[in-house]
Symmetry: D2
Subunit: 306 residues, 4 copies
């Protein structure tokens, strides 16, 4: 069954009662003050249809969803072995900001979606792009067709003021020879990527290449190859949901990437890209109502990768 | 493109040069003496066709592939919450026989496919079946249609003589209250399951329910529900390949389960079940040539879940 | 200043208010039911004087204090390298019953006073003594001059029924080749040693060889050499107080060994042996009031090793 | 027996054959180029006698020996609870520069002699001293009576260029709220302390207060109280030799502190202070020949704390 506005609206009304059972990220004020009752969803089909419900056109901080964008850029700029000798492809089994495994595994992060791995990717971009921040912004503006997308400067500045843990991660990797640039500018770019403000429609359009063998449905441009697309989806499926990837696969069954701003993108290869937003998080740091909405959508339209 | 005998034969001849680069499991003599040049593959399509190449009808020790069978039996006998309060659904990020995470997480194994998790499943089966070993044997004989499948008594006895590590795991879980029966009989059943002797055709037929929404293609019986099937495939995709699940997803892109006997089963939901066998293992403990054969098959026939 | 009955009595009355702030060990009923207000101390000087206060002649379960006795027996039976290739000499920095470090360090326990190390020592005794349990009993009866010392059979049986964690430790070491005998009989001996019932006077007399260059003050027999005595005291000082050895050295400044029965022995080399008993434990598992009493005694008589 | 020049010379000639079996620290060039055959020892008795042998008057980089000096300054400036709420008193059981335990224990280092703990101490000094570097230099010049002691600027600069690991440690503690100042200036002071150039006689005189109840034998000034002295010696005995404290206590039996420059100081409370230097290190990072020399000295003069 195809998703319809009716199905999406019904799902949102059914998951609404979950609001109040999760917890809005509060480690920086700019995130803490987001109203907890925001709820939106957008589906972008491979034939170009946009279907939405709720607050699908209201922007929010995409946070770690940006890690999938940065990795895409790195895959466009580097040969595979240049990337995968510096970051692994395996689930970590530990908290997203842990240094324990990183020390035991000699400064090689487990995958590109935990903080350490994303910081390595930011270091890679820094080495090969003259203006990585501008490049990323153009990338999402083009893919989404939304020229109003901006970095939330307050969020980026706030993150920078709470950057000690990520600085520790970067310095630890540097001590193992797995970090090439100065720490501060790389972290600054990393935090800007996390501070991208986008809405569900933007996100669904932006990531449509992951559902369409690497070709953007919106721009018709080939972003990455079909093989790279399969690889990126595989990484999202096994590592994209922090320490809740197994649970997400079990319940939703789609490659996805979440952010602590409450957004999640999910892919049905060959068919559609989905973005959902609800700020309250479960204990793994994934949107509580957002995950449930995706689980219900998977059941209603009978779509999953499994 | 559909798989053909020609495609399978070509793939086997192309992966053959890998033999000699891996290492046959040698922790028990019965495994160490298996000739390293065995190589077989079988595909069982959802419309009942069997396609094979190489040593597809020669039996081998299925080892950890049995963990997917035991979990299936447990899902048939228990309510979901009865299982998932005792074992998690997340990748472990640690070696399959590690006690470190098990101690830190209070005796709850990360997933049913690491040793600790499979031992919990064996404990569950012990609690509810009068003759779990006989039940499992009937299960695979029926699903495969091969009444000659047996336990390799020498392998089972050998495993039992090298059971100290698994005994440590079981006792540690017992100390946390996550083990209900006597340790020795449960381990004995666990080792017997690992000692099942099956060939690639048997395996492909046995697991066909995972490619067919829970219904065995061979017997037409509904083994588990479509939702349970999706869930089991999700668990296989995120946790089925020891500490190489991410790499396997990245390269092959199918839910799968491997064993140190050199076998791997892989699922293309809605289409087919594949079994491959080559005894030499890579450093993660997965069949080296077997994984490569599945990667090539995925590319040739254009099938993966991503 | 020499310790006097007056000093000891004053100290006991000063530490009494601490009773109620700790917690009696309750993992087995036989320990849980010991009255929390028991409080006793005995000093045995190297010239043979016994000075006591409080419940110094009431027997209690010596628990881990026995680990120092078992190690002494092992030092009498084995060459140093035979012992120290199987167990280390370093503080562990982890809980006394943790398997984490044991797995990471390939089955070699950090020191003989954590559970794993003491179980290795029990395994050593089992290999070389025909009746290790009887031998240990004779050893303490002779050293203390108290022929009424017995094993508390109820405690030993209770421990055996809660032995899963220690069984896990033993099997893990066996899987690394660091355990020679059957697990159950060794654990049974280990638990019997822990279940020795002795009073403070018994303990002070028994351990007098540690204060007297290896010669028992009571029997005049040379138990171990002066060098072995220095070595054993060094191990007690760095590893004898679970994960509170640093704090104990900082406050008390004497080599010592504690047990969860609330007993502690402490050594002033060249001068005296002290035993104290108060069942309530601090968070490290050491007697709360007992530690404080030793700290005060150290200050009053101006004795410590530092 | 009192130490004599004859005894010291004999010991040095006996340990000389060990040179060649260890490894000079080579993580910075300034340390790597120190000749491996340097060997010196100095004893400073509590009645003011200096006894030396070998290269006792040649300066070397004291490295981590400075951690005992910095802690002494902190104990002079802060109340005990102000220090011990920010750093523990227990052996770590892990490498001196590990972040694993630090993350698991919420940014509170195990003790003041691992890197993390010493960096906390440097942060404490930074908060309360206007010129901590100058203060430390005056401190050692006064205590040793040697006004020529300087910081080795090349060593300090080299350390600063290899500071990533320590920066990671500092930022990790900051993320847990256990670091008050800017990271770089604190690390700079920390590295300067490590870069103090002193000889064995300087060191023995400087640390004489630890053997003399807190009063400097050289200046007659009371540096810390007798109780603080006992406490500091206790910390040195349990934590002063990296992950080799247990072995050092077992073999030498004196409170001590080592540095990767190959120096070790050791204390016989009430009697003497000893400094030894030989650049080659054992696998724990302690001077190989230096440790052996102290072990032999302990045996020859019959002195240890146990």
């Amino acid at each position: 069954m195809r998703p319809t506005k009716q199905i999406l609206s019904t799902i949102l009304s059914e998951v609404k009662p979950l609001i109040g059972q999760g917890k809005v990220a509060d480690y920086i004020p700019a995130l803490a003050k987001v109203p907890n009752n925001k709820l939106g969803i957008a589906v972008y089909t491979n034939d170009g249809e946009v279907i939405t419900a709720g607050d699908a056109e209201e922007s929010f901080s995409i946070q770690s969803i940006s890690k999938a964008l940065s990795l895409t850029l790195a895959m466009m700029l580097y040969k595979p072995e240049e990337i995968w000798q510096r970051v692994g492809k395996e689930p970590s089994g530990q908290a997203f900001n842990s240094l324990i495994q990183l020390e035991m595994e000699q400064g090689i992060p487990r995958n590109p979606f935990i903080n350490a791995g994303a910081i390595v990717v930011a270091d890679l971009l820094q080495s090969r792009l003259s203006a990585p921040r501008q490049r990323l912004l153009e990338f999402v503006r083009t893919l989404s067709g939304d020229s109003h997308i901006v970095y939330d400067k307050i969020v980026a500045a706030s993150e920078m003021m709470h950057s000690d843990r990520n600085a520790a991660i970067a310095y630890l990797m540097r001590s193992f020879g797995n970090f090439d640039n100065d720490v501060i500018p790389v972290l600054n770019n990393y935090f800007h990527a996390c501070a991208l403000k986008m809405n569900c429609v933007d996100l669904a359009k932006t990531f449509s290449y992951l559902a369409n063998k690497g070709q953007s449905v919106n721009t018709k441009k080939q972003i990455i190859t079909p093989t790279q697309t399969k690889q990126l989806n595989a990484l999202l499926a096994t590592c994209g949901l922090y320490d809740g990837a197994g649970e997400f696969a079990y319940r939703v069954g789609m490659p996805g990437k979440s952010g602590v701003g409450g957004g999640i993108i999910a892919i049905v290869p060959g068919e559609m890209t989905i973005a959902v937003w609800s700020p309250e998080l479960d204990k793994s740091g994934n949107s509580l109502a957002g995950t449930r909405a995706l689980e219900m959508l998977s059941q209603r339209i009978g779509r999953s990768i499994f």
